[in-house]
Symmetry: C2
Subunit: 289 residues, 2 copies
Amino acid sequence: MQPAFRKVVIFGVGLIGGSFALALRKAGAVSEVVGFGRSTATLEQAMQLGIVDRIGSDIAGEVGDADLVLLATPVAQMGEIFARIAPHLGAHTLVTDGGSTKGDVVAAARANLGDKLPQFIPAHPIAGAEKSGASAAQADLYQGKKVVLTPLPENPGESVARVRKAWEWCGAVVSELTPQQHDAVFAAVSHLPHLLSFALVHDLAQRDNRDQLLSFAASGFRDFTRIAASSPEMWRDICLANRDAMLRELLQYANELHVLYQALEQSDAAKLEEVFSEARKVRSAWTQQ
Amino acid sequence: MQPAFRKVVIFGVGLIGGSFALALRKAGAVSEVVGFGRSTATLEQAMQLGIVDRIGSDIAGEVGDADLVLLATPVAQMGEIFARIAPHLGAHTLVTDGGSTKGDVVAAARANLGDKLPQFIPAHPIAGAEKSGASAAQADLYQGKKVVLTPLPENPGESVARVRKAWEWCGAVVSELTPQQHDAVFAAVSHLPHLLSFALVHDLAQRDNRDQLLSFAASGFRDFTRIAASSPEMWRDICLANRDAMLRELLQYANELHVLYQALEQSDAAKLEEVFSEARKVRSAWTQQ
């Protein structure tokens, strides 16, 4: 049986792109993977790890006959890549990405893909990224994980279905949102918590007695601040890319804290218990899907 | 060899009190454990689990010849217990507690122990409490965990040393702070994170699209909000007991968020990266002790 994809081109062969390649290979869904990237060392490592078959050197020559192109670079680099691949994309080549924000990626695609825009189906794989780089890539990274597609009005249905299938071959559970819905949802459940966690550690880090404080921090602090060890550059970019939704979320959260501050100031035990109880009820009922 | 403690009396035989009893037993440091509590069912369960030798029925008769009394009830009940045991405490009976806040417990002791105050050495065992009740008690709960003593100026040195030794027999690593230092430290590294975590879940729980939001929450949300499943009653009491330090921490944190809000509003990439980088550096270097 022929693999579903004869040729897949991946920009950025780190955790996200490398795992995508390994997963498609494992599923027998791809014949050839070609990698592009800024770092020659990373590309050579990806070769050694069996992530890519070849290191690409000529974008124009590689994307014309590719079945699928994945952009798995930092989001800030995607505009330039869209511009470089647009003139050379084959008529049947589909493009997807692995960016954590979608409004900005879609804007970059609209600005740079020209009449190839309908071939781009945006995606966000929800896969933990404490580690990074080609060496962290693994074939089962997406197994059972969510991938959100944010199709554009211009996307033909069969193209969306084909990109969906690619992520499903990786083991992912695929759902769809609009780019706007996506960014609002992830501002609330992911981007805001990251910012709050960074903020707490930064707050404590400024104190004269920082070492004393940290010496008494325990498991609650450990879990609350785990995400404060995330990549500063990546989260700077995510916050800026999703700025409007983040500002709304921050205002809403500040209002929540204001209510709790007042309750505490007035020793309003009933109000505190009401807020904490509602939170506990919801958090206890939640199970990661 | 005689055990260090002939008789230990424990008020509240749940996770904290029950584990203390089991640990002292395992260390061969106690001959007899007598339990008091509000719930007959819990006391009977503690009997069955081998936590206590007897269920106490007469406080006056039990605490006179006890070597050590542990108050492991909710902090709000401690004032009443101090008042009830004070007239009957033996000259050599020491008292300690397992409360998460110390300023309020010390105030309750000063108000109710009278001239027995020097016999009370306050303590806070830093042991996770996702579970509760006698059935959650375990002999190794305190193994390698921190216990903070907050001795009073009135405490004789040998009494502090003896209570320290009791917690060390439980496997704990014991350190000392003043009650004020303790409450300031734990407001920052424990009480504030709990409130922030409750606040985030409550914030999301109020939304019309709450189910959609929660369906896309992943591992970052999971860890950040783990402590939002904690006991609402306990954390209401902790917040109120440590109100002044909590108000200070909340104000400081709100200021931190205000700085980040402004940086985001101005798309100040450098400022965001600076804050996130400093947080990551400190969090990555931190290891739970």
